[in-house]
């Protein structure tokens, strides 16, 4: 069925091209030979010729009105696009420039503090603390277990008491999930948790066990060996040292100061899209 239809289409294509005189001489000769023998093919050609003649003989339809152009019509040549494209491009450039200036300004203002912020303060403190308290060659080189890193003050206090003794049961209890009073105590955000493990005093009801002369000297020795200033403050019961990553104590820029940059970047992108479209419309 499909093959028959295809064959009919092929024949119609030949007949149509024959009517237009678009067959090659060889194709034309072959078709004419077939037409001479095939009455049905001749009838098919005649009906097609008649159809074409009918269409070609259709009278022309006159225009119902004049289509003269007026200056107003001609002035409509892409009016909005033509006017807006340069303005949009200029606005895009200005917006982009402002965005870059603001971005650079913010980066300069927040540069050092951003560098410090690259390594979050609590983590830095956790990495520092075991080194500073390092007294023996034992497991100190290894990364502290999660419980220790979660509560660095445990290590500090236990080592301060005796370098080799295991921590007191109370301390173990803290590391096993008992909320530590240190954790409960609120810290100012700028401490970043650095002093969370160093500053606090002993748990309530328990006298301070560390010997004040031992711990600071040990810590100072370690600190000098590492070329950092002695973190004596760590062992002091008083608060937390300023993290070394924040020289000058410059606070990081508040997140809201990046909002105008984002807004301008978005505006620039939108303007760029519109100006591209306006140029294309021209």
């Amino acid at each position: 069925m499909l093959g028959k239809n295809r064959a009919r289409e092929r024949v119609d294509e030949w007949l149509s091209a024959y009517i237009d005189g678009a067959l090659s001489p060889r194709e034309q000769a072959r078709l004419e030979a077939r037409l001479a023998q095939d009455a049905a093919l001749r009838a098919r050609l005649e009906s097609l010729q008649r159809t074409v003649a009918l269409v070609r003989g259709m009278p022309s339809v006159p225009a119902p009105r004049n289509f003269l152009l007026t200056p107003a019509m001609v002035r409509q040549t892409a009016p909005v696009a033509r006017r807006l494209a340069p303005a949009l491009t200029f606005a895009t450039a200005i917006s982009g420039l402002l965005c870059v200036i603001l971005l650079v300004g913010n980066l300069i203002a927040a540069g050092p503090s951003r560098l410090g912020a690259a390594a979050p303060a609590p983590m830095a403190a956790y990495e520092e603390t075991p080194q500073m308290l390092e007294t023996g060659p034992t497991e100190a080189k290894k990364a502290p277990p999660a419980s220790e890193t979660a509560l660095p003050e445990e290590g500090l206090l236990s080592r301060a008491a005796t370098a080799t003794e295991p921590p007191a049961p109370e301390m173990r209890a803290w590391s096993e999930g008992t909320p530590s009073p240190i954790e409960a105590a609120p810290f100012p955000p700028d401490m970043g948790g650095v002093g969370g493990g160093a500053a606090p005093g002993p748990p309530p009801g328990e006298p301070p066990t560390p010997t004040p002369e031992m711990t600071p000297s040990e810590m100072a020795r370690v600190a000098i060996a590492e070329g950092t200033p002695p973190a004596i403050t760590v062992a002091e019961p008083t608060p937390v040292p300023v993290p070394p990553e924040m020289p000058g104590g410059k606070p990081p820029l508040p997140p809201t100061s990046w909002l105008p940059v984002g807004g301008l970047a978005l505006l620039t992108a939108v303007l760029a899209i519109f100006s591209l479209r306006a140029w294309r419309a021209r």
Binding site: P59, V61, P62
Partner: protein
């Protein structure tokens, strides 16, 4: 494809390219019937054909700088054919005169009546045939319809049609053959609606 009347086409086009709107309007007056006829045959709707004609003239004026010589009428016809083709593809426009509604079409809606020169009886017969044919043409799929109109109404050759529609010559040949065959089948199927003198015989 020749100009409808004697006019210095080259001079008018050159003047229009320099921004002379009056010169361009002379070209509009000379060719508007041809342009409208083509738009009407392709779109099958008088209002849409008017819009397409007006837009084609505006577009032609705007893009006169791209005209590089040759036949201005051919260039203009390609412009309007392209606009009509875009219109057909964009909106899948349904013709105002459908094949199905041919039987009950209002006589006054027939644009060919204004063209009647012969005797009243002949004119009526011609008008009926023209309406019938137009209804059959707009019943064709758009791809076939535009090729048929450009070939058998506008008299373009295969290469001109290929350039206008943007398809290979081989595709023009096959689409034209399918359009003609389909039109023939439609006319044969509805031959009792045709005037007796124009009825096609069924070859099967």
């Amino acid at each position: 494809m020749s100009a409808g009347r004697n006019l210095d086409e080259g001079r008018l086009v050159a003047a229009a390219q320099r921004g002379d709107l009056d010169a361009f309007n002379e070209l509009v007056l000379a060719y508007q019937d041809r342009v409208y006829n083509l738009a009407y045959r392709i779109l099958g709707d008088p209002a849409a054909a008017e819009d397409a004609t007006q837009e084609a003239f505006i577009a032609a004026y705007r893009h006169l700088s791209t005209f590089r010589g040759g036949s201005f009428l051919s260039w203009l016809m390609r412009t309007v054919a392209n606009r009509c083709y875009d219109e057909l593809r964009r909106h899948k426009r349904r013709p105002a005169v459908s094949w199905e509604s041919f039987g009950e079409m209002d006589e006054e809606a027939n644009p060919f009546l204004v063209n009647g020169h012969p005797t009243p009886e002949e004119a009526a017969q011609q008008a009926e045939l023209a309406r019938f044919l137009q209804a059959a043409i707009v019943a064709l799929p758009p791809d076939q319809r535009i090729v048929l109109v450009l070939s058998d109404v506008e008299g373009m050759n295969y290469q001109e049609i290929a350039d206008t529609v943007g398809i290979p010559v081989g595709t023009v040949k096959s689409r034209l053959a399918r359009a003609r065959a389909r039109l023939r089948d439609l006319l044969q199927a509805q031959r009792e609606l045709l005037p007796r003198a124009y009825r096609l015989e069924d070859e099967d």
